[in-house]
Symmetry: C2
Subunit: 436 residues, 2 copies
Amino acid sequence: MPDVASRGPGGLNVLTATEAAAKLRDGSATSVELVEHCLARIAAREPDVQAWAFVDRDIAFDQARARDREQPRSPLHGVPVGIKDIFDTCDMPTAYGSQIYKDHRPANDTAVVSLLRLAGAVIMGKCVTTEFASPVPIGTRNPHDLKRSPGVSSSGSAAAVADFMVPLAMGSQTGGSTILPAAFCGVVGYKASLTGIDRGGIRHLRPTIDTIGLFARSIEDIALLRSALVGAEKATFDLDASRVRIGVCRTPYWGEAQPETVQALERAARALSAAGAEVTDVELSDVFAGIEDSFRVIVRLEGARAMEWEARHHLATMNHWLKRELDPAGRPDEAQYERAQAHALECRRALAKLFERCDAIITPSACGEAVADLESVSNSAFNRVWTLMRGPCLTIPAFNGPNRMPVGLQVVGPAGNDDLTIALADWIAARLDRST
Amino acid sequence: MPDVASRGPGGLNVLTATEAAAKLRDGSATSVELVEHCLARIAAREPDVQAWAFVDRDIAFDQARARDREQPRSPLHGVPVGIKDIFDTCDMPTAYGSQIYKDHRPANDTAVVSLLRLAGAVIMGKCVTTEFASPVPIGTRNPHDLKRSPGVSSSGSAAAVADFMVPLAMGSQTGGSTILPAAFCGVVGYKASLTGIDRGGIRHLRPTIDTIGLFARSIEDIALLRSALVGAEKATFDLDASRVRIGVCRTPYWGEAQPETVQALERAARALSAAGAEVTDVELSDVFAGIEDSFRVIVRLEGARAMEWEARHHLATMNHWLKRELDPAGRPDEAQYERAQAHALECRRALAKLFERCDAIITPSACGEAVADLESVSNSAFNRVWTLMRGPCLTIPAFNGPNRMPVGLQVVGPAGNDDLTIALADWIAARLDRST
């Protein structure tokens, strides 16, 4: 991955979660020391990066001290994790990026937060989310270049992991909210299958779209975090190059791809072919025509239902995108919603057929490197359709753009095949030529 | 399965979901006809059984007509499903069995309900739940004998499926709320792994305990319903008798088992051994001592958090069990909660070791056949520990008790191994001698 200007003291905070966990296990570091180094990095960089909605030293250290006194609860024991502020936490404020909830203290944890606590993770704090995870930036900056966007809406989660403030973070994705910021910030992002990681207790849930996302600095760390969340052992796979089949999908949005993205995908295809994989071009068939409109209908109607109370009582506090989104004028009706869902289903079927011919698809993670724009609504053209298709997606920080900003490669798998897709992404990452 | 006194006209409502779906597919029946037969059965039997909190003919027929006009969305297309009234539905009232919410109309569906709609299922209505899924009965009666309990808390879901009112129903389990009513009503019940079926959008969630449960009249139907909910193809397994390893676990509660339960487990063990499986006795090790107390601490503290608002404003409306449960006097503190979770983790580790020696455990589903008592708090002794262990559990309606009431056999698998455990339950069910 690209170097961030300064990593700070080169302390424990630069380790991956897997590396840090090994040190905790063999006694060469404690959770308190790890948290201390992460907090020092946050203190040094937060004024510039603005990745955190809430961090409290005492709450973090209390957890770390308690973990250090215990037998390990899981391989993730003692490792700090940042939590997108869209997820409830019973011991920290949860504002969903909204003025309405600025002093909100939920009584309960979202299920993923509970599960992380039970695995012995240290809940480090709340990472900045845009307002109700909408695509309007909210102040966080890209650690690689503070004038550039970190991507939205899990902006703080991606920036905090990229800037070595924390090895792991939780996010979510409705359009491109995990893959896009991970790609912009040069970390590994993983959006689960729709129901691949439990969504229990999420407020304002759009039940057929909102999906859990994870951030880390290695794919191994993604597998580690996922295993803690699903309560199963880390899966292992024997991948034989001669039997790996990769589809290269340029998508109907290829015209929006910047030169660095075009080059990244072409180079990846060549490298995987050279490594012995069967690499073929695949296309989203005609049935995908208009899928963007169907996506919009579904997001808009489910969003209106999910934020009904907030829209009725607090619309004036909301950003311009949400105001338009929640305006009853132009809201799709049930028949349009049904048609949109039927269209999405047709597309999922077409995609399932396509996955009979390949094990995973490689496709752009974003149009190009992070934009030098901290205010505009983000472009998730290369993400929305995959979210709607419900399968696992990872972005690998594979290449660099013209401004030395990271450029990701996206790996997409069939819905429900998360463990195999993560293993394939790892196999792919090891075979990319990143020399430029 | 035992015969219910009268199945009604012997119409489409007596078919399993798999059988009904085949008829819809080959055009020999329509979803409207299927719904009609189910509604006729409900009309005939509901005054006695009291399985439904809400059914509306128009809402059900509207969905069925729409499904009949469409291409099938999934193998479940057009099949009616009952929904425990603990899950939100955007088009039907949702009262959680509580006076507080008697006119509550949620704006949104719980995620599982959305996913069922997208799979083309007909949401038939809301099945009776006890108040906030507490273990206090609320009026539903066992279709096999109206003087007997249907089990709690997913009472309506179990009774409706058993009584041929609907082929499938959704429930949940915190103690024994799926396995117990399924066993009492003589249907197949399946409690998923904790995070094995998405819990998005569930109100009053106890994040480390509340688990999704399914009800059907065949194990094949359970696999069908599960596949619609997780968005993956139905898994298939080649099970070779000579390699199936079954552990027989009598548990520390064996003393509470009635003669019919003792006999059922012994007969099942003999039959599986005769079928060629490796059958061994297994015991929950000493580390499980006191696990009941740990379970109580976790349920009580998470329940208090989840129902904080209701307890503050509406305690007077609640049943005696909830009043005691939500009383701040005697509430465990955080340190007790941490110790209880640490204990549960130790037990999960011990159980994982045990699962190195067997593929699945067979154990009682309940103390005995359904009790002739429609008022007392239920005994989930054979269920709570498995809920806390987070693995998949199924109950198979395998045997009969002294009063010709059903007696179930419970099959328990390792957390995360739901598909294999369902396949093993199917393998086991086919090999049981049910001659008495």
